[in-house]
């Protein structure tokens, strides 16, 4: 007589990822919360940011100093080719000298599946996104935090900075996210 194996009492927990759903020019995006170091209001940046004029990189208009490094503020709308919109928040991204201007945050969510961008997409978007995720019957692109500025663009921006042009370090008025 064959005896059916008893059902497992506990299933191994599925690996999931916490994401932040946000908007740029009304368009929804997601980013892993682990890649966001801090969320600040744009107003809190205004005193610490310096204008930067690099004609070939129009999406970067401001730079701030942080831990002796230049942090470049990228307009999400300009990066993605969306209509200009007034940004209210800035995401300071981890492991890259980039801060991203966004309209606002919709909510936090849990992503259980990240699907690679279909191979039909074959241009810059392959660098922009880690992939797509389906959430509440919507498909949301999950941005790649390292896809906003290339190494060449960082070099150009660094070269355009004068050492004394950076103001004092960004004051701590933002919401710091745990790593």
């Amino acid at each position: 007589m064959r005896v059916a194996a008893p059902p497992a009492k506990t299933r191994a927990a599925a690996r999931t990822e916490q994401i932040i759903l946000f908007r740029i020019s009304g368009q929804p995006f997601a980013v892993s919360s682990a890649s966001v170091q801090e969320i600040r209001s744009v107003d809190s940046l205004s005193g610490a940011a310096t204008e930067i004029d690099q004609p070939t990189i129009r999406k970067v208009r401001h730079v701030v100093r942080r831990n002796e490094k230049a942090l470049y503020v990228v307009s999400g709308a300009a990066h993605f080719g969306l209509p200009p919109a007034s940004a209210a928040l800035v995401f300071v991204l981890r492991k890259t000298r980039t801060a991203l201007l966004v309209d606002g945050i919709d909510k936090m969510a849990t992503m259980t599946r990240l699907q690679a961008l279909p191979l039909a997409y074959c241009n810059e978007e392959r660098v922009w996104y880690r992939g797509l995720t389906a959430l509440d019957q919507n498909v949301i692109p999950v941005v790649n935090p390292e896809g906003f500025l290339t190494a060449d663009e960082f070099a150009l921006l660094d070269a355009s900075l004068l050492p004394e042009s950076l103001p004092d370090e960004l004051a701590g008025e933002g919401m710091e996210l745990p790593e």
Binding site: R113, A116, E125, N138
Partner: protein, 159 residues
């Protein structure tokens, strides 16, 4: 000496785009579905409108009418879900069509050098000569599917 014309007998799906009909090898067709919501997001690849959700998969929608007819479709009745090959990988792609599709058997005459790359061959059906489409040449895509992250990443992998 004139080389012999290569011909093969196989099944084709006839699709309608505006006033014209085209054919695709039936082996490349997955299904015909009613239009559903298109999710759009910023990108730089021409001809791609966005993606649809189909059986849990995210399927890109590619309007091929502009290339084949010279103008975009004003109305669409169905999406023809076809298999598009990218090197040794293959994925679904949704093609908007304007009318019913029909399955036929016909002999295909292989395209010649003078034909456009998106023409795989020609078939004759009810007195009409119809282009057989080469979807791999007609729709955009990474031909070298060697980039990292080109396959679905399941985060559900058991830890």
């Amino acid at each position: 000496m004139i080389p012999p014309i290569e011909s093969t007998s196989q099944s084709f799906v006839l699709l309608r785009l505006g006033e014209r009909r085209f054919a695709v090898a039936a082996t490349q067709i997955s299904e015909l579905v009613a239009p559903s919501r298109i999710f759009r997001f910023p990108h730089r690849t021409p001809k791609l409108e966005g993606v649809i959700l189909r059986r849990g998969r995210i399927v890109p929608v590619c309007d091929v009418a502009e290339r084949l007819l010279g103008k975009a479709l004003t109305s669409r009745r169905f999406y023809l879900i076809a298999v598009r090959h990218y090197g040794d990988k293959s994925e679904w792609v949704a093609l908007p069509v304007t009318g019913d599709c029909e399955l036929i058997a016909a002999e295909m005459t292989t395209a010649g050098e003078a034909d456009a790359p998106h023409v795989a061959g020609w078939i004759s059906h009810n007195g009409e000569v119809i282009e057989v489409l080469n979807l791999d040449a007609l729709t955009p895509g990474l031909e070298e599917a060697s980039m990292s992250g080109t396959t679905a990443v399941l985060l559900e992998a058991r830890s």
